[in-house]
Amino acid sequence: MSADTPPSADGELSPDDVSELRAQIEALEAEVSDLRSEVDEGSADRMVIIATKGTLDMAYPPLILASTAAAFGYDVTVFHTFWGLEILHEENSKDLGLSSVGNPNMPLPNAIAALPGMDRMTARMMRNRIEDNDVASVEELIETSLASGVDLQACQMTIDLLGYDEDDFYDGVTTGVGAASAFQDMADADIQLLV
């Protein structure tokens, strides 16, 4: 490399050396600015949530976190699989279930909670509480998430498994995606959550 060439005998740089150094500096500056713009372009923070549960209480954490992260400027993907698909199912999402059975935090003994009709009642009570406390509905949170640019994805394998049709989901939901694309998104993300 010519930059390693020792200066002339009197220790001074010849005009040729100077212009060569100048050219090298310019090339390096161009390279730095290229790299800088590359880093800036890819600098958006990313979050991926895998939503696997479809009960009324478990629909909230992924949707609230996703829409909030979008407000913080994150690129957000929520990959819905298995019962998490119910959240994106336009009809089912308005009637998500909840059971007191096996939930020791609920004030009903299991023996009573297991009676027919009790799950529906539990879900209805929870839904009323949600409304009374000014908490958004699942539908509102989905619309808000989509409007904020959140990519809500429905796992294709589970769509087939549960016998759903692509038209069953909210407009704007991404279908035709699988574990590989979810994994790729997770590998690139700053935050990965399994809910």
Partner: protein
């Protein structure tokens, strides 16, 4: 900071977490540089949520936060300025 200095007001009364922050972000994006957005909320959690959001958002400066009572209800006001 008084309401007079706010150039725009966002009313999110009666909406709970996470809506105040999400709607603040939406309204903030529509501001011109130097504008001050007033957010009026009934969610007590908005005091820490909007503060945290402003701290993490480039160009957003939380000018003031105040708690008041309107018609017997606690109201939380936030003033966010968009950087010039």
């Amino acid at each position: 900071m008084s309401t007079e200095t706010a150039t725009e007001t966002l009313d999110v009364k009666g909406q709970n977490c996470p809506m105040p922050v999400i709607k603040t972000k939406g309204a903030f994006d529509g501001l011109a540089a130097g504008d001050v957005l007033e957010v009026v909320s009934t969610d007590s959690g908005s005091m820490s949520d909007i503060k945290g959001w402003a701290e993490s958002t480039e160009g957003a400066e939380l000018v003031d936060q105040a708690e008041a009572t309107e018609d017997g209800t606690a109201v939380y006001k936030h003033y966010v300025r968009k950087a010039e």
